[in-house]
Symmetry: C2
Subunit: 360 residues, 2 copies
């Protein structure tokens, strides 16, 4: 049976202080009031039966996830005791769902991006399910690139499978600018979306083949009865297992081994990472002076700022402010130049160093 799993893991500290260890970025509401998690759910809900949609998250985020997504049945949360990268999270989902349904086919999607239009995503998702069901393939989604981005991984296409997909020839991690430019010009590369479709048995077979250490741990977890038993086994096994991405652990070695082991479905969509304040700003309403406003504001001689609060009744008043990020929450006010948006994570880390977990 077809299932979907939304990965809602990391804290996303580049969106601090709105995102916290206890309130990950996927639960933040973006421009139109739906959280990234809810938007990811909406995308799947058009293709899958709602009872087949799961969320994989930290045990500590379970309550927050259920509060942000009341549509989700509580038993559809797949919990991790701690985050140990994507190989383990993907393996866990396959092991847990495969234990219930040996024929399970999983779409594993992220909640870190705004994707438009939703219809194009859903068409690609249906195509990917068919490809994964018709053969023991690992199917990935490749975003059709619109720039020579050096901060993303790239997927090189190989032979066409049918009109709408290709074998994967190779994966490349973040290339330098010159390489990225040749990739873009060639028309043969896609951005690696981090979203996949596969049979549970296919990805578990590949894990057993390439990472028997991970596969062994996952088998012990899946063998325990769902509920407190499994939680206990998982808590004991997790810390022993290595941190590694699913790309390194499975997709890259599989693609190297056999030309038809991995397929890519092109996805021609607006694919916006809203993982930083400068990126999130593009989803917010803006005024005629280029201020992106997620807040009640009074602005005098102020332009090109990003201003966000967690309380719609809180006023941010600024005079002579330019290209600055201001985020006001109940217990923390954060300010930095827009050009330093990527360094907010460092500021959060400095705060954790000075004050422990109190403000982060």
């Amino acid at each position: 049976m077809r299932s979907g799993v939304i990965m809602a893991g990391g804290p996303g500290m580049r969106l601090w202080p709105l995102s916290r260890a206890s309130r990950p970025k996927q639960l933040l509401q973006v421009g139109d009031g739906r959280s990234l998690l809810a938007l990811a759910y909406d995308r799947l809900a058009g293709v899958l039966d709602p009872t087949s949609i799961f969320v994989c998250t930290l045990d500590s985020h379970r309550d927050a996830v259920l509060a942000a997504l009341p549509e989700l049945p509580p038993e559809n949360v797949i919990g991790e005791p701690t985050g140990r990268d994507t190989a383990l999270a993907n393996g866990l989902c396959a092991a847990v769902l495969g234990a219930v349904d040996p024929d399970a086919v999983l779409a594993v999607v992220t909640a870190d991006h705004v994707i438009k239009p939703i219809g194009a995503f859903q068409d690609a998702l249906r195509c990917a399910f068919e490809l994964a069901e018709s053969a023991p393939r690992l199917v990935t989604f490749g975003i059709v690139p619109t720039s020579a981005h050096t901060g993303l991984g790239y997927v090189e296409r190989g032979a066409p499978i049918d009109g709408s997909a290709y074998d994967v020839a190779s994966f490349t991690e973040k290339p330098d600018a010159a390489t990225a430019a040749t990739y873009l010009a060639s028309g043969r590369y896609f951005w690696n979306s981090g979203m996949f479709v596969w049979q549970a048995s296919t990805v578990l077979d590949q894990l057993r083949r390439h990472r028997p250490d991970l596969a062994g741990g996952l088998e012990r977890i899946a063998a325990a009865r769902a509920g407190p038993d499994r939680t206990r086994v998982q808590a004991a096994v997790y810390p022993e297992l290595p941190r590694i991405s699913i790309d390194y652990a499975v997709l890259e070695p599989a693609a190297r081994e056999r030309a038809d082991a991995v397929a890519v479905v092109p996805l021609a969509v607006d694919w916006l990472d809203v993982g930083s304040w400068s990126a999130l700003a593009t989803t917010l309403p803006s005024d005629e002076h280029g201020n992106a406003l997620g807040s009640l504001t009074v602005l005098v001689d102020s332009a090109d700022n990003v201003i966000v609060t967690d309380d719609p009744q809180h006023l941010v008043a600024a005079l002579g402010l330019r290209e600055t990020i201001v985020v006001a929450t109940k217990d923390v006010t954060m300010i930095c130049p827009l050009a330093d948006a990527e360094r907010v994570k460092a500021l959060a880390a400095a705060t954790r160093l000075a004050h422990g977990e109190r403000f982060t």
Copy 2:
């Protein structure tokens, strides 16, 4: 009998959003944790009996004043229904205290400045009381100038009265830079402090002489019995009376009329107007990067800022911030360049225009 009256009137919107219409700047705590009002009280308490110290403020600020200054007996608040400049406020205090004690001698002091050392102020205060008691003089305090400030009024000294005071030859409102420079060089000019000592009967006589309209209104108020009767009369009379400063209404015409009508006691003190964020910053603790900090903070690559909160538990975290004022209160966050400190009032006005009294 000698009395002291602290004027705690205007809202001080240059210190918005910490100061509000309902929480005037005199009630704000400065660097060492005492409010400006409390510091003014401390200065008087060394010279006067505490039961003889009064505060003149808006009726709407009565409760806030008593909360900020628990030492003050509630009956020692002289309330105004609305602020109508200093001639009326000074006249009211003289009329009210003179009605109880016809021999009352009043020191009328402001709470808008930090004055150091306190001993020099108290010596001058004792000297001024003696001058006011020995003749029907209007005694003013003249700050010994340390710069050719163009934002202040100046007092020109005339003949010496004794070793420590002078008749006043003339008053000049804010002079231009060239004039201020000649004033400073001459050694004959003081900054007008806005603080005075006089017999209640002396200032009321002068008001009757130069502003019979004001004097008549004040007599009607003082004739009513203290309490609800007087409050009712005052509410009816106040709106009819003109707005004018005590300098224009009384001191300047009196000094023009008679050379010995007004005396000036020199005051050689550090006299710091803390009426703006840039000025208040000088009273706050600072770190090694020139940040003035009235707040819990985590600062990375940030220098020469002024950061203030009204909640000692609220964190302000900044990265790459330079020469900026950040004031975070429960319902308003205010940000502007330090160079624009004088324009905070305009930002508060823009906020009032947009949101009524809600945030101001």
